[in-house]
């Protein structure tokens, strides 16, 4: 047997190099496809104008309940975009490989699955910061809504939602590997199933009774419940945040397991021929 070639970097350094290379590859995609900026600039702005106007309209009634609702709407839509941006950037990052028939090129390289996901997620976080930045500035400029007035309690809530976004995208990628690009509609669709069930803009007791147990099982419900506590100036409800955090990590692990299972099936059944 011949000895393997001498490599220049340690395994850890090579791994980090690969993740950065993947992130840079997706940066090129964004910079050189201006229409991709829609997701991180215009769409957040549209949402903040829509929900901010709704909040302003509701707020004119002057009762304490309606004032609360307007705060829920604006804070809810800003934090909703944490899930949206993290999910969409990771899902479309992978879908970019299928749209451009680049999957085989990528799969024959030494890139490990976890490195690939980490690289795309790394650049996804840049996109998320851009998108949330646009929303925060839009909410401030148009509706005088100071998102940071909610305090540092926003950070653990945002982290939880970020993890949920990644979990959903791993699940979507798994489905695309299994069923082909026809399943990519789920990249956008799944989010909007979660939106009403998670009580993004209202307490889940407003949901039909039959749906409430399902809502309570979602980590996002507890995250947005904690957010409403911040809007109501009750401080951060650590119980809700802990349930949301544990639920989101469990969701991520389940999604990672599902993705690995689908990738194994992808290799076993030779589905790569769909993309060559």
């Amino acid at each position: 047997m011949t000895a393997p070639v001498t490599v220049e970097l340690s395994p850890r350094a090579r791994s980090w190099l690969r993740m950065r290379a993947i992130a840079r590859r997706h940066a090129y995609v964004l910079v050189r496809s201006p229409h991709r900026l829609f997701d991180v600039t215009l769409w957040p702005l549209v949402d903040v104008v829509l929900f901010g106007s709704l909040a302003a309209f509701v707020g004119t009634s002057g009762t304490s309940g309606t004032a609360k609702a307007s705060g829920y709407l604006l804070a809810g839509i800003v934090l909703w975009h944490v899930i949206y941006q993290s999910q969409i950037s990771l899902s479309t990052g992978f879908l970019e490989e299928t749209w451009t028939r680049n999957l085989l090129n990528m799969m024959v390289t030494p890139v490990r699955e976890v490195e690939y996901v980490a690289g795309v997620a790394l650049f996804g976080m840049v996109k998320m910061v851009m998108g949330i930045g646009v929303m925060v500035l839009g909410a401030l400029a148009f509706f005088s809504f100071h998102a940071w007035s909610l305090g540092f309690g926003l950070i653990p809530i945002a982290v939880t939602l970020l993890i949920v976004g990644w979990a959903i995208s791993l699940f979507v990628i798994g489905l695309v590997l299994r069923f082909g690009t026809g399943a990519e509609a789920l990249a956008w669709g799944v989010m909007f199933v979660l939106l009403p069930l998670s009580g993004v803009f209202y307490p889940t007791k407003a949901l039909p009774t039959v749906m409430q147990p399902l809502a309570l099982a979602l980590p996002t419900t507890h995250a947005f419940s904690a957010l409403r506590g911040l809007v109501d100036k009750h401080g951060l409800n650590w119980t809700q945040v802990s349930i949301a955090g544990a639920g989101s990590v469990a969701m991520l692990l389940l999604a990672a397991w599902f993705l690995v299972a689908m990738l194994t099936m992808f290799r076993r059944r030779g589905y790569i021929t769909r993309y060559t």
Partner: protein, 254 residues
């Protein structure tokens, strides 16, 4: 058998639903050896290559690249392999140099710049370094794909139809470049091709696949002689005829 095995694939089997695409083959390639994997459409060539690349899992058998078990250590094994195919696109929205830099880094080269220059020069495409991938002709894309596959100086270079869609002069340049890589760097080549000129010029050993099995293994001359044909093309046509008759249900794809 070659003394130093770069590729050791034994007992490979792959079934797609009710079709057996690859039926218990061994593929052994030594350092610096130049091997062609030939056969008619549906013979199992691409499936075999995809298994060797770790993209399709064999149903039975084992693959080792430079002694590294592919099933257990895919990433480490993949560092030893380069792959190019005439049908593969270049990553979109990147200039050629950016694209090569990306893939150099994916193969663990911190500063791929000098190797990019060397590769572009070897295949005489330095003038394309700043072009966008979408501006290239299919032949130019193939050349850049080959440069990409050799950046990390792989021990095994796998090529699927490397000269498909190339003009004769460019195909000649590719053949010369590949021979130079094998001779100067000790890189083993495993390539498929439907162009027997490629095989005659580049390869010193031929594996003929038919209906998922290796039906001939030897030098181009010895195989042609054993089938009583004047050249490899004659053998190919003979085997393709048999394959059509006996395996109409076989397919290379699931």
């Amino acid at each position: 058998m070659p003394a130093e095995l770069v590729l050791e694939a034994r007992g490979l089997v792959k079934d797609y639903r009710r079709t057996r695409a690859v039926d218990g083959i061994d593929v052994l390639v030594g350092a610096g050896e130049r091997v062609a994997l030939l056969g008619p459409n549906g013979a199992g060539k691409t499936t075999t290559l995809l298994m060797i690349l770790g993209v399709v899992a064999p149903d039975a058998g084992a693959i080792a690249i430079c002694g590294i078990d592919l099933a257990r250590h895919r990433s480490r094994a993949a560092e030893q392999v380069g792959f190019a195919a005439g049908y593969l696109p270049l990553t979109e929205r990147m200039r050629v140099r950016e694209y090569l830099r990306l893939y150099g880094q994916l193969y663990g080269i911190a500063d791929p710049g000098p190797r990019i220059d060397e590769g572009l020069e070897r295949f005489r495409v330095t003038h394309l370094a700043d072009a966008m991938g979408t501006e290239l002709s299919s032949g130019q894309r193939t050349l850049i794909g080959i440069v990409r596959s050799t950046l990390h100086r792989p021990r095994l270079l796998v090529l699927d139809e490397p000269t498909a869609s190339l003009d004769p002069d460019v195909a000649l340049r590719v053949r010369e470049g590949l021979i130079e890589i094998a001779e100067n760097e000790g890189t083993a080549l495993l390539m498929t091709s439907h162009d027997m000129t490629d095989v005659d010029h580049v390869c010193e050993r031929v594996l003929f696949l038919s209906a998922g099995r290796i039906v001939a293994d030897g030098t181009p001359e010895s195989i042609a002689a054993s089938y009583g044909r004047g050249n490899l093309e004659g053998v190919f046509l003979h085997l393709a005829g048999n394959h059509e008759a006996s395996a109409t249900q076989q397919s290379d794809h699931p």
